[in-house]
Symmetry: C2
Subunit: 337 residues, 2 copies
């Protein structure tokens, strides 16, 4: 019998749960016979939604979880208290080896904390980074770390660079990905204490293609494939991408309403503009992996629809097929030894 | 006799020196009889340019400086070695009390380092922050600090908040400016060690209107008037603003070329679009003050043209008229006492 790739999915997480989550899961299993999805959450509601679809019965299993962790809840307390929440139950499936991966559009904090507490880190990995893909002029780049672990050390950033490089090469498919360190200037002597300590360590890494410092201005131009930074800076980059994009787009729309001429022009460019803006929307590339854990945990955007849920499940499949977990383990152990 | 406001201007700094610098100086003195500009740089070249204009002879004085600091030069070494550079000579005019302010479109690093070394800090000011204005959906916000001083302490950030608030209120004209601390979440318990230490200190400040944390996503929406952060994060914000804006605009332009329909539309919206994008271009708000020094030092964008140079000179006039220097001094001393 063919080996199944088993993905636990938080059916209760995000703005469009459970409808879009269930739909995405059905779409994913429809693409490949070797995917099995555990839909974790309120069984009755999930079964109600599943009725609308036809799919391979053995490919979707509903796992009851009576509680839901809300976005506003303090993550650590929520993970400890709500033992029967979809996030805790889903993560435990990974921990117990019943699932290879867990996907959630729910509380970022709870997924991050829960991933570390429940699934656990690969031996040797100091910190599991959250690594979303962000759009660039040339495609996408992996921004690592955007997680909840602030005040990182140089050794953490070196591991981020290695794990990010493995992910970008084998999951996203960029060969020999260019790795850069976020800095406030291109020269080696620039930067804060953390960057100055990290730079020479990255230069010494023979298993990554380190191209040096990258200034924030160059990130959207796509100068590097793996953007290494500590989580506070990563969070600022990710959120400012969204903020500047959103405000600029709304300004452009307002600008097109200033005269009759521009109004007519606006109507004509609208479809093309929509496509363009979509390709540069940071929220479109949902599915950020939390790397370095004993199983894959993927956080998709809270506003994820079926398409993003499906893509996140497929991302888990590639992750498993490419044995990223083993590659990270080997890479970290090689360094340690 | 009327008291003159004396501004030293680096005639050799930036991409468009000396032509646009000289033009900007002439335009500034043409607006007000009480402005005196010292054009610092290669006398012969400056005089050659000045010939093209008519202006009040007593309002512009050329001060010879035979050397130029290039952008690529390491700042500290450049300031020490090139004693007869336009930046060193200009800053010395401020130090010696011969000028009230110094404006340069030249090397940021050299202006920052030179400002501290040559002009010196106001007693009690721990670090002089560089504070550019960035565009927002509601107008502009002051981003403080974007300077060369990384690895700031909480006490520095508190002073940045105060100095930024004074500047925003009295120079930019925003009454009771809203001050926010850049953070990775809105809750008080979020953040890295620096932010967690700074937050309660800002809450205690009675002389600023502290509204709490701000996530990077909200900055472009204009939720706060003074955005407080340490220099590394400030630099990332400023440069990412530019980068995301530039790439998005070029994508939009490309998008408009995809079909005949969108091409025609593109032609119609072009003028309106141009205006809109200009209003959201971070480089348009040149003239970042280096606050907390014994005289005003203003760094304008390297690509500044006459208009930005003129505006920067006028900014120095407002700074002097509003006695910002005294206000900062009083505020810092009050706290110390």
């Amino acid at each position: 019998m063919q080996e199944m790739i088993r993905v636990a999915v938080d059916a209760m997480g995000g703005d469009n749960a459970p409808d879009e989550i269930v739909k995405g899961a059905v779409e994913a299993v429809g693409l490949r016979r070797d995917i099995k999805v555990f839909l974790v959450g309120k069984e009755e509601r999930i079964r109600e939604k599943l009725k609308a679809y036809s799919y391979g019965e053995e490919q979707i299993e509903v796992v009851e979880a009576s509680e839901v962790i809300e976005t506003a809840e303090p993550p650590v307390a929520a993970i400890r208290k709500k033992k029967d929440s979809s996030i805790v139950v889903g993560l435990k499936l990974v921990k117990e080896g019943k699932a290879d991966a867990f996907v959630s559009a729910g509380s970022s904090g709870a997924v991050l904390v829960g991933g570390q507490l429940l699934v656990g880190r690969i031996k040797g990995v100091e910190r599991p980074p959250l690594a979303p893909l962000i759009p660039t002029a040339k495609g996408v780049a992996l921004l690592i770390d955007c997680g909840a672990n602030v005040d990182a050390r140089a050794s953490h950033l070196v591991q981020f660079a290695k794990m990010g490089s493995i992910y970008m090469e084998h999951v996203v498919g960029v060969s020999n990905p260019k790795v850069a360190l976020v800095n406030i200037g291109a020269e080696e002597e620039k930067g804060n204490a953390l960057v100055k300590e990290t730079f020479p360590l990255l230069k010494e890494c023979r298993d990554i293609n380190f191209i040096g410092s990258i200034e924030a201005r160059e990130i959207p131009h796509g100068q590097a494939d793996v953007i290494v930074c500590e989580a506070f800076v990563g969070n600022v980059i990710l959120k400012l991408y969204e903020g500047v994009g959103a405000v600029l787009v709304s300004k452009i729309k307002d600008g097109m309403k200033t005269s009759l001429r521009s109004k007519i022009g606006g109507l004509l460019v609208k479809p093309a503009l929509k496509e363009t803006l979509k390709s540069f929307d940071a929220t479109e590339y949902g599915g950020a992996p939390l790397l370095g854990l004993k199983g894959l945990v993927v956080k998709t955007h809270g506003s994820s629809k079926a398409q993003e849920v499906k893509n996140s499940i497929l991302q888990c499949v590639t992750f498993k097929e490419q044995q990223i977990h083993d590659k990270i383990k080997e890479n970290i152990i090689r360094e340690e030894g």
